[in-house]
Symmetry: C2
Subunit: 180 residues, 2 copies
């Protein structure tokens, strides 16, 4: 299966595409960052993120999308922008009927390194080993997106067929609720 990992952010959305299945070597298909300029209004930045992520899905046709789960308890001053960017990522994937999973940073760290409190450098090093890369992807958001995709392949295979069927059914029968 092919998984697109997205590490949401208003300034940098990490994106990483991984091919593989449980018990086989994984391979990196592509990795990068969707950037937006902090000089633009937030709404314009979110539209750029939408277009950028759509282009990644269009190009790589993933079977599933894994998005980092954002928490309100984060102390970061950028948390609201991160939450907004994650909302855009979810919509871009859901509109196409793709199965979506959200993994917490701890789950991702535990999956790739065996330690839920691993630091950025450890996660980067494990991504390099797992995908047999020449060097860690830069910036860290790009490495995190690959780690998310790896986590999804390893965790998600059991349920992904069911999720995919449900997502397809939903995409065919959308049910927006609107009342006055």
């Amino acid at each position: 299966m092919r998984v697109l990992g997205i590490d949401p952010g208003l300034t940098r959305c990490g994106v990483g595409v991984v091919d593989g299945s449980v018990g086989r070597p994984l391979s990196m298909v592509d990795v990068g960052v969707v950037r937006t300029s902090s000089t633009l209004p937030i709404a314009e930045r979110l539209v750029s993120i939408e277009r950028g992520l759509d282009a990644w899905i269009e190009e790589h046709r993933p079977d599933a999308v894994a998005v980092e789960r954002v928490f309100a308890r984060s102390d970061s001053s950028t948390i609201m922008g991160t939450a907004q960017a994650s909302g855009i990522a979810l919509v871009v994937a859901a509109r196409r009927g793709l199965p979506i999973a959200m993994h917490t940073p701890s789950e991702v760290k535990a999956a790739v390194s065996g330690n839920g409190r691993a630091d950025k450098a450890q996660v980067g090093a494990m991504v390099v080993r797992i995908l047999r890369l020449a060097e860690p992807p830069r910036p860290a958001d790009a490495a995190d997106a690959l780690a998310l995709a790896i986590t999804h392949v390893w965790r998600g295979s059991a349920t992904s067929r069911i999720d995919a069927a449900v997502a397809r059914a939903r995409a065919q029968h959308p049910n927006p609720v609107r009342t006055r």
Copy 2:
């Protein structure tokens, strides 16, 4: 000018459309709520919000959109969903090149009631008076959306022409930044 006010939320997005200009009586065009079921996955709910808000814009063709500004310091457990919904509202409006303004809850309360700490009932009562309604719109999210639209008409007229010109220029020359 016609303004669509949006009070973002994952379960209920308040929406209210107001016609008017500074120094003249304002009138309500429509008010309601875009609801999503808490039994659906978040991504599906965000897609429903996107479709619902798009339908409101399509039907009422506002000249501007006013969205409540969400803060991380809110204690609410629903803050992340609210932030994600606000991101969708911003994208839906920005994609169409509509001028967007964000107003804080205090700004809205001060604009409609003269008191930045007014409670829900006071805001609802002032919305009724300003728009000459028979009764306060229910639920409160709907009244808040109208209050946002009123605030925008009263605050926004001076700069809205410039904003509109800038938004149109941006819509014609989108500049998504994508690097690898």
